[in-house]
C-alpha cells in the first residue's frame, strides 16, 4: 500500500466522522430484513428501500462523507501541506486518495446493497447492485474529491448535488437524470440483473459513457487543482 494510501486510511478511520458511515448501511439492512420477515411483497418495499434509500441516500451520502474526508478534511486542518511538500507528482497524491475513498465507499455500500438485493429478489440482483454501486462509488468519489479542491465547503456543494439535483430535480425533470450518478447506477444494475424493481430513463450506453466521463473528468480536474493548490496567507 502506498504511503499516501496508508496516511489517508489512517486519517479517515482515525476521525470520529467515520462513525457516521455506519447507521445508514445498517438501516438499509434492517429495513430489508424487516420487510422480508414481515412478508411484504418485494414489489412494495424493493423500490423505496433499494433505490429510495440504498442508491439515492446511502451511496451518495457515504461517498460524500468519505470523499470529502480523504482530502477536504486535510485541507481544513492544514495537514495536506505534509504530503504536498514532497516531490510527488500530484496525480500520485490524488489517485491513492481517490482509491481509498472509492474503496471504502464501495465496501460500506456494496455489502448492505447485496444483502438487500438478495432479500428482495436474488443473488444476481444483489451482485448487480453491489457492482453498480461500486462503480457509482468511484464516480461519486471523483466528484467529491474534486469538490474538496474547488470549494471550501465541499460537503455543502455535495449535499446540494445529492439532495437538490438528484433527489428533487431528478424526480421532477427527467432530463436532469443524464447528469445524475444515481441514475447511471440504476441503469447499470438493471442491465446486470434486469428487474422491475429498478427503473430509470437513462440508457445503459449513456450511463457507461457518463460514468466514465464523470470519473475521469473530475479526477483530472482534482489533479490540476492540486497542482495549483494555494495556502491562504495571513493577510487573506
Amino acid at each position: 500500500m502506498s504511503t499516501v494510501c496508508w496516511i489517508t486510511a489512517r486519517g479517515l478511520f482515525g476521525r470520529r466522522r467515520f462513525l457516521l458511515l455506519l447507521p445508514l448501511p445498517v438501516l438499509l439492512v434492517v429495513l430489508a430484513v424487516l420487510s422480508r420477515g414481515l412478508g411484504v411483497p418485494p414489489s412494495s418495499w424493493g423500490p423505496p428501500v433499494l433505490v429510495g434509500l440504498g442508491l439515492a441516500v446511502v451511496l451518495p451520502v457515504v461517498a460524500l462523507i468519505v470523499g470529502t474526508g480523504v482530502l477536504g478534511a486535510e485541507i481544513d486542518d492544514g495537514t495536506v501541506v505534509h504530503v504536498l511538500t514532497t516531490p510527488l507528482p500530484r496525480w500520485q497524491i490524488v489517485l491513492p486518495k481517490l482509491a481509498v475513498a472509492a474503496g471504502v465507499t464501495a465496501i460500506t455500500v456494496a455489502v448492505p446493497l447485496f444483502v438487500a438485493g438478495l432479500l428482495a429478489d436474488s443473488v444476481r440482483l444483489g451482485l448487480a447492485l453491489a457492482v453498480a454501486a461500486s462503480i457509482g462509488a468511484l464516480a461519486y468519489s471523483a466528484l467529491f474529491v474534486a469538490a474538496s479542491l474547488l470549494t471550501r465547503r465541499p460537503v455543502l456543494l455535495g449535499l446540494v448535488y445529492v439532495l437538490i439535483w438528484e433527489g428533487l430535480l431528478g424526480n421532477v425533470i427527467t432530463g436532469t437524470r443524464v447528469l445524475s450518478i444515481q441514475h447511471y447506477v440504476i441503469a447499470l444494475a438493471d442491465r446486470l440483473a434486469p428487474t422491475n424493481l429498478l427503473e430509470t430513463t437513462v440508457s445503459v450506453p449513456v450511463a457507461v459513457v457518463m460514468t466514465a466521463l464523470v470519473s475521469i473528468g473530475f479526477t483530472v480536474l482534482a489533479i490540476d487543482r492540486l497542482r495549483a493548490f494555494s495556502v491562504a496567507g495571513e493577510t487573506s
Binding site: T3, D77, T79, V81, H82, T85, F229, V231, G233
Partner: protein, 315 residues
C-alpha cells in the same frame, strides 16, 4: 547542550531568488515588489504581524502564486513545481500535523514520500537531529506544542534539503527547546544550507542570525546585516555610551567635533550622539589622547536589532 546529530553538509548549495514579487488579495496588497536573493547561511525574516512574512514564505515555498514577479530556486520557479521539494523543506506556522501518528511514523512517512533510498535511517537521523528519540514512539497528539514543532522540523529535514523555510519556528517552545532549535539552525547554516526563518520576536532573530530581511507593510524595508543597516541610516545619529577617566573634560572636547551632535553627561558616563559613525570612532581616540584622557568603554547603544527595527518601522 549539544546537538546529538549534526547535519551533514549538502553536496551543493541552492539560491532562492525573488524578483519583483508582489501578491495582492483584491484591493489588499500583502507583498509589494520584493526582490531578494537568499544563499547559504541563516537569514531572519523580520516584521510586525501582518507585514506579509507568511505570504512571502508561502510564495517562496510554492504554495502561493505571485500576483506579479517570480520566485525561483536555482532558476526554476517554485510555483506549480513539486520537484523543488527535493531541495526545499518547509515548516509552516500552522500547527498542522497528523496527530494519530507517532513522530517516528510521521517522519518515516515523509521519508517514504520523498522516496529516499533508506527511509528508516533517514527518519532516525532526522529525529536525532531534533532530539526526539525518547518520545518518537508516542502519538503526536499527546505532544506539547514545542514537541510537535520539533517533529515537524524533523519531517522537513528528513530529505536533507538545501533550503529550509520556517515560519515562526520558535512558537510554543520552552527555553531549552528554543536554544536547541537555535543551535540546530546555526549548525544547518554553517553546514552551507540556506535557512530562512520568520519571526516577530527581535531577540530570536538577533540570537540566530545577523542577516535579516525586514518586511514592513508588505515591502522589504531593509536587507543585510542589521548592524550594517544601522550604520547606513545616516539621518539618525548614532548613540554611544562612553566612560573615561575624565568624562566632563571629554564631553567638552567632543562638543567641538563636527561629527558629534550632542553629549549628555550622566553619573555612569557620557551618552554621545554622533551624526557620522566612522568619523566619530576615528576622532574619539585622538581627542582623548590629546587631553590625556583614557577611554574605558565605548559601546554603540542603538545597534541592536530592536533599534534598527524600530527605526525602520517608524520611517
Amino acid at each position: 547542550m549539544t546537538t546529538t546529530s549534526n547535519p551533514a553538509p549538502p553536496t551543493t548549495t541552492s539560491t532562492l531568488t525573488l524578483t519583483g514579487v508582489s501578491r495582492w488579495y483584491g484591493n489588499v496588497v500583502a507583498v509589494n515588489d520584493v526582490s531578494m536573493s537568499l544563499g547559504p547561511g541563516v537569514t531572519g525574516l523580520l516584521g510586525p504581524n501582518g507585514a506579509g512574512k507568511t505570504t512571502l514564505l508561502h510564495m517562496m515555498a510554492g504554495f502561493l502564486a505571485p500576483s506579479r514577479g517570480q520566485v525561483t530556486l536555482d532558476g526554476r520557479p517554485t510555483w506549480r513545481n513539486p520537484a523543488v521539494y527535493r531541495q526545499l523543506g518547509l515548516v509552516s506556522e500552522r500547527e498542522a500535523v497528523h496527530s494519530f501518528l507517532t513522530a517516528y511514523e510521521y517522519v518515516l512517512a515523509t521519508a517514504k514520500l520523498h522516496k529516499l533510498p533508506d527511509p528508516q535511517a533517514a527518519a532516525r537521523r532526522a529525529i536525532a537531529m531534533v532530539e526526539m528519540e525518547s518520545a518518537q514512539d508516542r502519538r503526536i497528539g499527546t505532544y506539547s506544542k514545542g514537541m510537535r514543532q520539533r517533529a515537524r522540523v524533523a519531517a522537513a529535514l528528513v530529505h536533507e534539503p538545501q533550503v529550509l523555510l520556517l515560519d515562526e519556528p520558535f512558537n510554543g517552545m520552552d527555553p531549552r527547546q528554543r536554544l536547541h532549535m537555535m543551535e540546530l539552525l546555526h549548525s544547518l547554516g554553517d553546514a552551507g544550507r540556506t535557512i530562512l526563518f520568520s519571526s516577530h520576536i527581535l531577540e530570536e532573530v538577533e540570537q540566530v542570525s545577523g542577516t535579516v530581511q525586514v518586511m514592513v507593510a508588505g515591502r522589504l524595508a531593509a536587507s543585510g546585516d542589521f548592524r550594517t543597516i544601522r550604520r547606513l541610516m545616516t539621518n539618525r545619529p548614532h548613540v554611544f555610551a562612553v566612560r573615561s577617566t575624565d568624562d566632563r573634560a571629554l564631553a567638552v572636547a567632543l562638543m567641538a567635533e563636527p561629527s558629534v551632535s550632542g553629549v549628555e553627561l550622566g553619573r555612569d558616563g557620557l551618552t554621545v550622539r554622533a551624526g557620522d559613525y566612522g568619523a566619530f570612532t576615528r576622532v574619539l581616540p585622538k581627542v582623548a589622547l590629546a587631553r590625556g584622557i583614557r577611554v574605558r568603554q565605548l559601546l554603540p547603544e542603538d545597534e541592536s536589532l530592536e533599534s534598527v527595527f524600530s527605526y525602520l518601522v517608524e520611517a
